[in-house]
Symmetry: C2
Amino acid sequence: MAKGSFEASAPGKVILLGEHFVVFGKPALVMALDRRARVRVKLLELQADNIKVHSLNIPNASPAELQPIKEAAIKAMEFLGLRKGLEITVNSDIPISAGLGSSAAVSVATIAAVGGLFGVRFTKEDLCRLALEAERLVHKNPSGIDPTIATYGGILLFEKGKPPEPVKLDLDFQLIIGNTGIARSTGEMVAKVGLLQLYYPEIFESLLEGAHRLVLEALEALRASDLEGLGRLFNVNHGLLSAIGVSDISLERLVYAARAAGAFGAKLTGGGGGGCMIALAEAGRLDQVVQAIRKAGGEAFIAAPSERGVMLEA
Amino acid sequence: MAKGSFEASAPGKVILLGEHFVVFGKPALVMALDRRARVRVKLLELQADNIKVHSLNIPNASPAELQPIKEAAIKAMEFLGLRKGLEITVNSDIPISAGLGSSAAVSVATIAAVGGLFGVRFTKEDLCRLALEAERLVHKNPSGIDPTIATYGGILLFEKGKPPEPVKLDLDFQLIIGNTGIARSTGEMVAKVGLLQLYYPEIFESLLEGAHRLVLEALEALRASDLEGLGRLFNVNHGLLSAIGVSDISLERLVYAARAAGAFGAKLTGGGGGGCMIALAEAGRLDQVVQAIRKAGGEAFIAAPSERGVMLEA
């Protein structure tokens, strides 16, 4: 039987290249961050059906904000043929509403923790699928990239409907993440891009082809430990994202500030229309880029890839 | 024989879509502006070989700035088998060093005026070719688009090595031109784009294909008097120009300010890296967009297409 409580964690993410185009079947490169969501679930023996959720990071979270976490727990219990009362406590150092995969990391960790609570270790495939189903109840048209990277960790070549392909690295590197502080709606951005494709299918096809080739070149650059080349490809990818209408002036300010501070390259990451950007720079210049982004009005921090996907921390 | 002096004029231009990609053999849409360079040439009977140049707009112009005008006059006289002393006076309302074709307009007008002075009316083909040869002595790798539009006027579908194709319009429209005030070097930008093509020929090929399709769509939109559609295509084209590295933060500021003020679309125009941007908006909103661009730090004015190419004003 279940012991009293169980904890699991999962990482946030940044999309290195290929966001949005991934919705149209193109590959993307996604990286797990060294920032994690930790979720503790506790059995409420006497309160069947009652699921209480607390977030230590958003003390005043609205019920709507906590709903996805509930949905994830319910999905996990449905899969196990159970329905119990739970108390769920989230403690995360992934910035929220920033396109850094906070929501999927919480979902994946919740499902893993619920499994652990009842003595079941989900396969990664099941974890990922359950988290995606829970996300679908809340977000529109998610590509599945967020739960996948939260589950597997590392750097993945991701393509819809295919098993994710881990990218082996010889390279220890860090990147800079800049947050515009403007909450974005990935759903709205995805819808906007969909309209563009409807209006101009042939132009869009060329952009898709360009994005595809970009990701393949970036994969080569990563495997060759060529951060400078990867940065150049960031710049090109950022332009393609501007072309499909998902950049904005808040992102451009941070992107150009990073480049002017000597970054190899910079681009928006994730849904766009606000949210975050990423930049690559040589190790000695990371702080300079962070300062430049702050001066341009963003929050900024240095992050590294993390090999660790979902983890049980019983 | 020649009378004492002769005047000719030619228009400035904006590239509507396709700049940079035109260097690689793709079509571009270019529009003559209702701003002109007027050039008066006067025979200096007693001073063979002496060419004096004055610009009424740049009273302190350096000899290097005036050299292209001299070269144009020399080209015209060479073609006529002459070498005479001339006094050349330029009076232009085209902003200079802004990518608005000031230099080519002056060259074309100079050549036409020199012809007129000696009783010769150059064909448009000859005018255009002589101006291009004169430009080649000064600028690197000019596509020929500037002397062509300065000669023919109107709106042209331009492709390197083909006769320019006039675009017939049912439509009276105006657009907004915003100037970052940052002097740009088209040559540097062209070289930067050339490097990108060398590094990533396949990605670049997709971008070229996208730019080609954009111009064809834009031609349809123009012919259908669909300014809103043309604006949307401006936005996509701007992203492609960002992808090839020729935008900068000064341009992004003006572009996003115009869009936020309700423009149908906005893009950089010409070489990039500073210089100008253009925006389309409904007639009632033009002033609002102009104000927004000024507030964002640019100079701005409203311009219209001009059917008039080079004109003799004897």
